[in-house]
Every structure is written in structure tokens, then in C-alpha cells.
């Protein structure tokens, strides 16, 4: 049984979070702590609750019980006990502390690459547009798109759009970065360029929680891997341990076997 962690060094502390959509239980008492600088990868079959868990961390989804804290501060509710939802203004401020990159990129189509990055910097962080522009250019350079600052999303390839998506998230200097299947919508030859950016962020010490199907990448880039099944954490540990072929976890073994069969 997963227990709530009182680890005070945890940057993200997810404690016994449960959620159901009607009669379907999508998260069953999920607990997970992530320390500063850790890269935690969540794997598991589709429908296991990975994405929902990630979306609860920045409260794009609400949850029925349990608590999620970032830096000791409850995310979606004023108080975990009374479950009184934060005001929209509070929620916006909380969300600004986390960055999220989406499977479908979700760039703002009317704004250029630089404009996408600048929106949060000017409206949320209150930076001048000149300052925001220089930050945007810095991050576009980091993701290899310094020359695309004035391109609209429609003029960029999927891989380029996703790199803008990453730059948009990290430019806000979030405490934690959430990556939701960020390469799933990409053509195979574009996956590498996006993963290279994630790897360089990890080397910089960015704390990340990612959901991915890129097993090789998960193995190489993660500090820990979490295997989710049926809305619960079924296994968690260092990559070599969790991805070991001789695991005794029946669900995990089936998942990995099926995965190897279809991906290698």
C-alpha cells in the first residue's frame, strides 16, 4: 500500500490522490514524491491514468481526494481537508509555477514562436516586451530555433512546434516541468530533436515529470520510472530495476513484453 511521504525535501508531493469520472475510477490513491532535480518518467498502458495524474499536478484536472503539494503548497485547494477550491486567480498563480508541454503542442496559432513564449512572460510575469523578447530569443536559441522567432506555428514542422512548446514552458522558469507524451504526435524522424532538448534540460537540473512511450529515452534520461496500471502506481524505482525483463510484477512484465513486441 502506498503511503503518504513526509519527505520534506520533496519538490512535488502527491499523496493518496484519487479521482473518478462517474463510476470509472481513473486514479486510485496515487502517491509519488519527486525531489528537486529529479527526472521521473511515468509509463503504463493507455487508460492507466498517466496523463490524468500529470494534469492534476497543475490542476487542469481536479481530483476527488488526496493532496498534491509543490514546495509544500497545496495546488488546487486552499486546504486539503476542506477541499475548498482555490480562486481562479490563485490557481493561475499556482499554475505559473509549473510548466507543461502537450502531446498536441497547443501553440497559440495567432502568435509567432517568440510571441507564444512572450505571452506568459508579459502577462503573468509582468516583464516588459523588450525583456520578454530577449528571453524568448534566448530560449529559442537553446532549442535550436533562433532563426524562427518570427514564424507562425503553421509555418513550423511538428518537431519545431514542439520545441517552441518546450521553450514556452521553460521560459517561465517553472519549478517543475510536466511533459505529456510530447513525442507521440511526431513523425519518427522528428522525435530525436525534441528528446535532445529534454535531455539538455535534464542536464541543467530541471525537475521533470514525463509521460512517454519512448522506453529507450526513459531508461537513459530518468532518475526513476513509475509504472502505472489501472489508475495506481504498480511499480516504481530506478530504470534498470523497473525495466528489467525478469521483473516479478505480472502487469509490468506483460506491458514490457507487449511493448517490446510492438516497438523493437
Amino acid at each position: 500500500m502506498a503511503t503518504s511521504s513526509n519527505n520534506s525535501t520533496a519538490l512535488l508531493d502527491i499523496a493518496e490522490v484519487s479521482k473518478s469520472f462517474g463510476s470509472v475510477s481513473v486514479l486510485r490513491s496515487v502517491s509519488l514524491t519527486v525531489a528537486k532535480g529529479e527526472v521521473v518518467t511515468v509509463i503504463g498502458p493507455s487508460g492507466s491514468g498517466k496523463t490524468t495524474l500529470l494534469r492534476c499536478v497543475n490542476f487542469l484536472e481536479s481530483y476527488d481526494s488526496g493532496s498534491i503539494r509543490i514546495d509544500g503548497k497545496e495546488v488546487g485547494y486552499r486546504d486539503a481537508g476542506t477541499r475548498q477550491r482555490r480562486s481562479e486567480r490563485d490557481l493561475a498563480a499556482m499554475r505559473a509555477e509549473t510548466g507543461m508541454v502537450f502531446q498536441g503542442f497547443n501553440l497559440f496559432p495567432h502568435l509567432t514562436a517568440a510571441g507564444n513564449i512572450m505571452l506568459g512572460l508579459t502577462k503573468v510575469r509582468g516583464k516588459s516586451s523588450a525583456e520578454a523578447r530577449s528571453i524568448a530569443e534566448h530560449w529559442l536559441g537553446r532549442v535550436g530555433l533562433g532563426h524562427k522567432a518570427d514564424s507562425l506555428p503553421a509555418e513550423l514542422s511538428g518537431g519545431q512546434q514542439q520545441r517552441v512548446g518546450i521553450a514556452r514552458a521553460v521560459a517561465m522558469e517553472p519549478k517543475i516541468l510536466l511533459l505529456d507524451e510530447i513525442t507521440s504526435a511526431l513523425d519518427p524522424e522528428l522525435v530525436g530533436e525534441v528528446l535532445a532538448v529534454v535531455r539538455s534540460l535534464a542536464e541543467d537540473g530541471m525537475t521533470m515529470v514525463m509521460v512517454t512511450h519512448e522506453m529507450a529515452f526513459a531508461r537513459d534520461a530518468s532518475s526513476r520510472i513509475v509504472f502505472m496500471a489501472d489508475g495506481g502506481v504498480s511499480a516504481v524505482g530506478p530504470p534498470r530495476e523497473v525495466l528489467a525483463a525478469e521483473t516479478t510484477n505480472e502487469r509490468l512484465r506483460t506491458f514490457l513484453a507487449r511493448f517490446r513486441a510492438s516497438h523493437f
Binding site: 510548466g99 502537450f102 503542442f105 497547443n106 506568459g120 507562425l152 514552458a169
Partner: protein, 221 residues
Amino acid sequence: MGYTLNFNLIWRHFDKLWGGLLLSLELAVISIAIGIVIGLVLAVWYVSAGRVVRGIIAAYVEFIRNVPLILLVYLVFYGLPTVVDLVYSAQTSFVATLALYSGAYLVEVFRSGLEAVPRGQLDAGKAIGLTPWQRLIHVRLPTMMRITLPALSNTFISLFKDTSVASVISVPELTYGAQWINFNTFRIVEVYLVVTAMYLMTGYILLFALRLVERWYRTAR
């Protein structure tokens, strides 16, 4: 048929048509401007409101859309002053009517545009910490505009043509000018040919201008 077209009388009274056209455009611009405000406010309200407000807005839209404009014009100009103590000119009366009328159509256009904004974009706006108001202004409305511009152009052209209904309460717009020349010169075919051409050309110019706006909006940065 021994009828020969003679446009001389039309040209002699052309100021009636030209002045009428300008008034038609004025009526359209003012009504549509008010209609846009009504439409935007109600559409934004609709998509975030509860069942009661939605019901009221839907009732307004359905009422307007199922009653002929000419009837609404009569109702506001002849009917309303008999029950409430208000004095207003035919022109004001028509602008108010067409504004309410265009508002109802524009609510529908804007509402479907707002609902077509992909949820992912709103999530992205939330994720970077924008407040609901900021998400509306910086994410939802700009995307809605790109989605609705083509439908919006059609509605605007259609509303411009609807200004011809103002002739029934003697507002001296283009169609009224045509009727005046018709009654005073009996050059029926000629005057309506000229007026048709005037509506057609104005419509095309409007459409062309709106297409430019669409293109500008698609590539603006």
C-alpha cells in the same frame, strides 16, 4: 415590345440614389457595430453561463431569427411608441431594430466560433498561468476571430442588404431612393437596374475588403 431604355431621368435624380447608398452604408455600419457588441458579450456570456442564462439568450436568438425583419421594423417603429412613452425618428428606430437583429445572428456566429477553439489551446493558456480574463482576451478571442471571419463576412453582406427594409418606414436609403424615382418618373426598369448594380458593386467591394482583412489576420504577426 416597343420599349426603349432611357436612363436620363435616373441620372438627373442620381443624387437620391447616391445619398441613399451612403445612408444605407451608415445604417449598416452603426447597426453592425452595435450588433457586434451585443453578439460578443452574449456569446462569451453564453459559453460560460448556466442553464437559465443560456435559455434566455437562446430565446432572444430564436425569436429574432424566426420573425421576418420587416415585422420587427414595424413592431419597433409603429408598435413600441404606442405602449411606451418614447419618441424617436424612423432612422433611429431602424438602427435599433437592425442592431438587435444583427446581434442575434452574430451571437450564433461568435458562439460557434468560441466553441470551436481547441481545448488544448485553453489548457496551454491555463498552464502558463493566465487568468480566465487573460485567456479570453489573448487566447480565445483571437482564435475565435480566425475561425469566424469567413462566416462573419457573409453575415455582414447580408445585413448590409437588409438595410433596404428601412424603406418601408420611409428612411431615405438606397431602396427608398429607387422607389422615389420609380414613382416620380415611371422609369421602373431603368431605376431598378441601376440600383441593383449599385447593391451588387457595394456588396463586392465589401466582400473584397473583408477578404483582405481575413488574409491580413491569417498572416499578421
